[in-house]
Subunit: 337 residues, 4 copies
């Protein structure tokens, strides 16, 4: 950590900062420059991060040098983590091909979607039973009935299933039916939820919050890892921006950015990122080319009758033709699924 003092800070102020650092058992290195004095601090930076050094009179800036996450960092684990969801592997060259409707509506509709996506190459089935909706007047999901449908259709088509959990109290229920938890973008910093999911060993698909930096995303993963659950798969799904012709802005560079800093797998959700069926296929291909460990795509057999997010769903036929292109690209990139 580096502490930059204001120009004109007094010797008493400088001494006070030094004393505070020593109280914590750390060693200050003072460099008195022409314009400013700078203090480098050697030792366990985490001790200092909890300290509001910025509030000490005379301090201009406090600059952390180390990353605030540990277990999630590439320095902690050099090798790519591979997360197992049922028989499906994610990371280390293995792609997750997650597909399904936004919300589970009925056994018949889910079945009608699951068959074709499985055939097209999807290896994990998704569907929401608890839906976070901006409006209290929108469809809120089928709850446990939806979870049962999801499990049954997943078993029928031999696909593990992933579904969102919004509230810590839903964890035991969702754990019973699903192979993987999804933490939605709106809950990426619901820290109680993160901690309690961290206490299970079930894989988690953690979506990036709409205004989360890459560092924030890795800090949320750290919450889960710190509780003992190492099975975290991250998901870029777009962030809020001024561009109004897409639902969100897909931050494609987050893929290699995360991979440089962390050993955790990261996939991309072009459906929520763009909100437009015409943009999903090129963004799915770009994700694979960027090195993503999979894609998460919404598919619906009748988007115009979907109870949630219909306009951004692909038809099963369009999904199948996209998957043919992805297959060739995955081969070129040396990835399997």
């Amino acid at each position: 950590m580096i502490i930059v003092l204001k120009p004109g800070s007094t010797p008493a102020e400088i001494d006070h900062v030094i004393e505070r650092i020593r109280e914590l058992g750390l060693k200050p290195h003072v460099s008195a420059g022409e314009h400013r004095t700078i203090i480098g601090v050697i030792g366990d930076e985490n001790k200092l991060q909890a300290q509001p050094l910025q509030a000490i009179p005379g301090v201009e800036q406090v600059i952390p040098i180390m990353k605030p996450f540990k277990l999630a960092s590439r320095e902690f684990t050099k090798k790519d983590t591979i997360v197992n969801v049922g028989k499906v592997k994610i990371g280390g060259g293995h792609l997750a091909m997650i597909a399904g409707p936004c919300a589970i509506e009925s056994l018949a509709v889910l079945d009608e979607i699951a068959g074709p996506v499985k055939k097209a190459g999807a290896n994990i089935l998704r569907g929401g039973a608890f839906k976070p909706r901006t409006s209290p007047y929108s469809f809120q999901g089928l709850g446990e009935e939806g979870l049962k449908i999801l499990r049954d259709i997943g078993q029928k088509h031999d696909m593990p299933v992933v579904t969102e959990v919004m509230d810590p109290r839903q964890i035991p229920l969702v754990e019973k039916y699903a192979d993987m938890f999804q933490i939605g973008a709106r809950n990426m910093q619901n820290f109680d939820l993160l901690k309690e999911i961290g206490q299970t060993m079930k894989p988690v698909l953690m979506k990036r919050g709409m205004s989360a930096t890459v560092k924030d995303l890795l800090m949320s993963a750290e919450y889960v890892l710190a509780e003992g659950n190492p099975n975290v798969v991250l998901c870029e799904r777009g962030v809020r921006s001024f561009e109004d012709s897409t639902r969100n802005m897909l931050d494609m560079s987050a893929v290699p950015n995360v991979k440089g800093q962390s050993h955790l797998p990261i996939i991309v959700d072009p459906s929520h990122a763009t909100g437009r069926p015409d943009l999903i296929p090129p963004m799915a291909l770009a994700s694979i080319a960027a090195g993503a460990d999979g894609v998460h795509i919404e598919v619906h057999s009748c988007p115009e009758k979907a109870l949630s997010d219909g306009p951004q769903a692909l038809l099963p036929g369009r999904y199948a033709s996209l998957m043919e292109q992805i297959r060739k690209l995955a081969d070129l990139m040396g990835k399997t699924y």
Copy 2:
């Protein structure tokens, strides 16, 4: 609602849209223009909002005309809502002067802060017992012990108290000790939490999410109102932006923007919005001039030893001098507290 069809949409496509609208018991008005056909829909727009009309072939754009919130709207209630927190009124000319430390640390520290802020004019005491922290390694709050301290110090100084609730399971506990719930920015779209707070009658201070639009904020208020709790006070606390010299960007225009669309009170939190003690006083004054129903300011007797967000806290003396200026400005604006 207006449905714009793509140039070159076929008569069959147009008929299909019309039929879908009629199925819902609504009346379509078709205008065939030179370049595009447009269909206006008359009737209860909410029926349509649940329908993914955008996904129908031939549809280019679906444009809602009505606001998606009802109970929160100015059209629903013309008069400014006044929310009572203990003996303190918020809204309709009454200002909430909320002050206190970020986190409750001990009885002694809170007492040392509460006395001076009460004397300076604060009318509600704040302090966090459950803290949402980006890092799992940061101080997470004292929990119930903190709540007891907050209540005791509030009673000692005759101030109602407000504190954050992060998880629906904490509601009964927090309800017992606090006079007002706070919903933090990270939980503005934690819909289960909103619904269950909506089932109490205790006032709620609802902070705007870091990437929430003004409409999103009002939709979250609608969740609480729809469950029966009318006592919602909104809070602008800055949004994420590219400006890196402040913690967030304070969207000051949200104050009159909300007041034009809604009858609910709105206050401003310049502490979290700016993260800088030098910017808090001018932003607090600007908030009152903009028509805010109060300000929420972090105060700490020793910011450099605060366990959370010390660098953005004002010292009690600085808070007192600010309150003198606010007093004169409130008089000029015809507001009381």
Copy 3:
């Protein structure tokens, strides 16, 4: 265009709007709904766009239906435009592989870069002679001397050259030496510059402004096209965002988004978008997979001694290995260069 009136607008207000529309020779279609009256306007929407209808009492919202650009639109020209830069084609399946240093520093340095990039597959050489620098104290470019070096080295290696023009007065000079103008992100809305470049017939590489929407970018292209110059190539180079670990946020979906709305070619500049050499190769690959008509990459033989933007430049060897991967991906996508 659709004009939505406020709830409770008076018949006199409605008549006033109708009269104003008729004055312009257009036909209003009035739909009186339960809550609001809506007026659809049929005819040349451009006549109306210049009119501040929003300011008429009683008007709540004015919603344009047509796109504000014409010559740049896919509706105007169905087929992909192919822009010729010397013997290089851009668009319609032909990729622009633009490479070179940020700034032209000397004949020797440029030569040392141009040789390897040409060998690796680059087909256009770039280099700045006039540099827009945030600080007045930074290197501002070599001016005409730089242009001469660029032309000479381009001829030596048989590559057409592209360079930035910042001021309309530089157009004749730059036109003499370069095969393609570059309009930088900071000048995307320098309308005098756009108009005067529009009066030449030389190809233009137009970079997206840091806070420009896709529509803004297409409107700036419209400025050039409207003056008679059809040779516009667009360039996504990242926009400003809250993410602080990359220089800008690469909006990859702008590629298919532009291609859906416009016939103009669009390439991607991952160097400025990310500002990080570790992210440039995966983003270049993703760009090609997303359908971009080329990539623009900064290469420097000694980044640590570069006079501008050294930290984001690739070494020639890294560029060559990236180009091998791009070659295979381009083959898969059916693109040539």
Copy 4:
């Protein structure tokens, strides 16, 4: 400047960095920590800023300690700068009350606006003769004819006048007619324009770019100051954001943020910032309360017939009632105009 080396950087890499620093005549201070080595550099940081140290192998981060602007900094000039525009003073307790239409349309219309605003308390008249318009098909301004009208009406009502200059070639012409140049948001980084305006001594109103940070704004002021023109007045006019109910997001905290770092005056333009007449008055009041040195407000006698930006203009009567409130607030704040 602080240079942080990567964990595991070799002694040879560290030596190479040290050597490079010494080559520049500067002194490196090396601190070898447990995890990382840090090098503090003492001396003229500007020498280093031009050097791409980040690109040196083994370097993880380069952290500048000093601000990149000098002449604009509060450290350079402690006292508030007062800029004189005709007989009007701006800064140091003197408020600029700039008002007028977006574009100059005719002598009669400008006269009809100037009279009432002068009477209401405006002290500088504005109006655009050269208009930067997103669309090439929108009204582009009257040019020199507009400048004459502006000067004549300004003289008639005894008000100095300000108008935008978009192109360096317009400087001599605008200089002849106007008392103050305006640099628009889109030209804040048109560096040739900045330099040439810096070579005049005429006051400049410099608007913040739509994606400019506060530091970027001060760097653009530095361009003008560095050429010898000290008469720069900054203007906050909103930045691009995801909030779609206002034209831009007014960054009110930029006012005290600039004042802390710089001696230059800063005013606020709530018209362009919000784009909504209902939000302009509260934002104008908030600006004065935040410490702004004035406000810039668009006024039009018939907004619905205005040739540019009509919907965001106030009627003269609304402007007058706002000015009454501002008068009282200015008195309270100890400001005069």
